[in-house]
């Protein structure tokens, strides 16, 4: 057989392979279950604390902001840790590194493909979070709450910023999961970092703490602050991306 010599399989091919590896795993379930749980929890609290018939504009705003706060403060950092842990854990657990690296695969491409998959899953979870929220508003409206559209759209517009500001954390968690086979390590990083969001995120030092960028873009008090968080995230993510890619390659394949 005459084999075409292609030094590096394209990123899209590697990405397709990485997607395939997640088939029939709980990773895809997490993409849908965790955002849904956040909405379910917030809705439960709202319904329990207030009569749906008296749901005014302020109550709707509180409800949407509650969903976003729970997601960006707590669930998103944990979600990122879980999915990056699952994407890389698949290789650690099944000796997949040996399989992949004995194939004509460029290590940098493999690292980037896995990171891209993390970005795709995070974006999907954000979209599903918004859709779940929309479904919940429809349900609450059907149950007697006055109709609401305004805040849903405001928060849909905030999703791209939330996605961009999650990039530094995605890169950090991906690098940690790539390096350590034990899922406890990336999860510990996520738990400790999440605990710091409340203290550091509300202080002037938030710019030094990538985990606070997400909450700042979603919940920041002013437009300027929210933009600042996005631009800062992009700059930090770019630096982290280059550094972590180089370090990841030097770790996995000696030489």
């Amino acid at each position: 057989m005459n084999i075409p010599i292609n030094p590096f399989p394209g990123l899209s091919r590697l990405l397709a392979v990485e997607c395939l590896k997640l088939k029939r795993t709980s990773t895809l379930l997490m993409v849908f279950a965790l955002p849904f749980l956040v909405v379910l929890f917030s809705t439960g609290l709202a319904v329990k604390s207030q009569n749906l018939a008296g749901f005014d504009a302020q109550a709707w705003q509180r409800w949407w902001m509650g969903v976003m706060a729970l997601w960006s403060y707590f669930m998103l950092p944990m979600f990122i840790a879980l999915i990056t842990g699952a994407i890389n854990g698949n290789e650690h657990k099944n000796h997949g590194w040996r399989l992949m690296l004995a194939l004509p695969v460029n290590l940098y491409s493999l690292y980037i493909a896995k990171l891209l998959l993390g970005v795709l899953l995070t974006a999907s979870a954000l979209l599903w979070l918004w859709l779940s929220g929309l479904l919940a508003t429809l349900l609450m409206t059907a149950l007697g709450a006055p109709g609401e559209t305004e805040y849903g759209m405001v928060l849909l517009n905030a999703m791209p910023a939330l996605m961009l500001t999650s990039l530094p954390v995605l890169i950090i968690q991906h690098a940690v999961s790539w390096r350590f086979g034990n899922i406890i390590v990336p999860l510990s990083v996520a738990v400790m970092a999440t605990m710091g969001i409340v203290q550091i995120g509300s202080s002037e030092y938030w710019v030094w703490y990538p985990w606070s960028y997400m909450t700042m873009s979603a919940m920041g008090g002013t437009e300027e602050l929210r933009h600042h968080a996005v631009w800062l995230s992009l700059a930090v993510a770019t630096g982290l991306f280059w550094l972590s890619t180089l370090l990841a390659a030097s770790h996995k394949r000696a030489g």
């Binding site: 084999i3 590896k21 029939r24 099944n94 030489g255």
Partner: protein, 318 residues
């Protein structure tokens, strides 16, 4: 453009590798001819797995060169984070070899066909390759079964099927029958020994199972202290083997005298039997003829040869 050489599918030249101050491979030289089934022997800790990792691009050597199908696997390059130049594998060459290192690397959530599609996509091969390699390892019927339901032997065959994607010129396998039951061992042994003839693939495998080497390899090398201590093809080794003979005769004393006169060292075990040790294969007919011609009654003659296992044990006993 990669060149197509004539002599060896794989050649190691002066390969050295050190781990944490310990020299694991020391100026290792080895040549694996095209079409051979080459067994790589050695005790644990002698450097077999390190050699396999070097050959598959997983570990770069400190010095020396690895040539696969006439092309150098490693080139020296300086990375952005390093002050000194280090060996970096040429990924293009990995198209030409299939590597299986230690336990098979499989994803239990995938079916056999889905698993093989990983290699197909990465190597840019048509989907028909999946059916071809599944047929080679006799797993066609299991294409749609989940790997999690496979027996150890099936997993090993599937892992070998993955290495066969794209018809590689060279297969590098680290202990391919490790942990398999007898029927699994027989299947893999048959599969690998037939590969050079059926697909033109050269097979290089490490093993502890010396019986396996005698039954399926065409050539073998013994690694000790990070160097090749002995290398031979199996037919030459067998021809050079010495045999022990037990002879049942009418008069062992007379037979002993006759043999001694003609330079054969024998030991009487009873009045009607004697034993001759270290006899080359081509001397046996002469010995029989000698006894008969001298009028010694020869009732029976048994021979036993030194197995590779006995030989290896003797060689590795200090």
């Amino acid at each position: 453009m990669l060149s197509q050489p004539s002599e060896n599918a794989l050649a190691l030249n002066q390969i050295s590798k050190t781990y944490a101050g310990k020299q694991v491979l020391s100026q290792l030289n080895l040549a694996v001819p095209y079409g051979s089934v080459f067994a790589f022997l050695g005790n644990n800790g002698e450097g077999k797995s390190t050699t396999i990792r070097v050959l598959t691009g997983l570990e770069a050597p400190d010095a020396g060169s690895v040539t696969i199908c006439g092309n150098s696997l490693y080139t020296k390059r300086r990375s952005l984070l390093s002050r000194t130049a280090r060996f970096v594998p040429d990924y293009r060459l990995l198209h030409r070899l299939g590597g299986l290192i230690d336990a098979p690397s499989l994803y239990p959530n995938l079916t056999a066909a889905e698993f093989l599609s990983i290699g197909c996509r990465i190597k840019g091969l048509p989907v028909s390759e999946i059916d071809r390699v599944l047929a080679v390892v006799s797993l066609t019927g299991a294409a749609k079964r989940h790997i999690g339901q496979f027996s150890l032997g099936m997993k090993q065959r599937l892992a070998i099927a993955h290495t066969l994607l794209g018809d590689p010129k060279l297969l590098i396998l680290d202990e391919p029958t490790n942990g398999l039951d007898p029927s699994g061992i027989r299947d893999i042994r048959q599969l690998l020994s037939e590969l050079p003839a059926s697909t033109g693939t050269t097979v290089f495998f490490s093993t502890h199972n010396l019986d396996e080497v005698e039954k399926m390899a065409t050539r073998f090398a013994v690694l000790k202290d990070g160097r090749i201590r002995f290398e031979s093809d199996i037919p030459s080794w067998k021809a050079a083997q010495q045999f022990n003979m037990t002879l049942e005769v009418g008069d062992a004393n007379a037979a002993h005298t006759v043999l001694l006169q003609h330079g054969f060292q024998s030991t009487m075990t009873n009045p009607n039997a004697l034993r001759v040790e270290g006899l080359p294969r081509d001397e046996q007919p002469r010995l029989h003829a000698l006894l008969v011609n001298e009028g010694i009654e020869l009732f029976q003659s048994y021979q036993s040869k030194t197995s590779l296992e006995q030989w290896f044990t003797n060689e590795h006993t200090d």
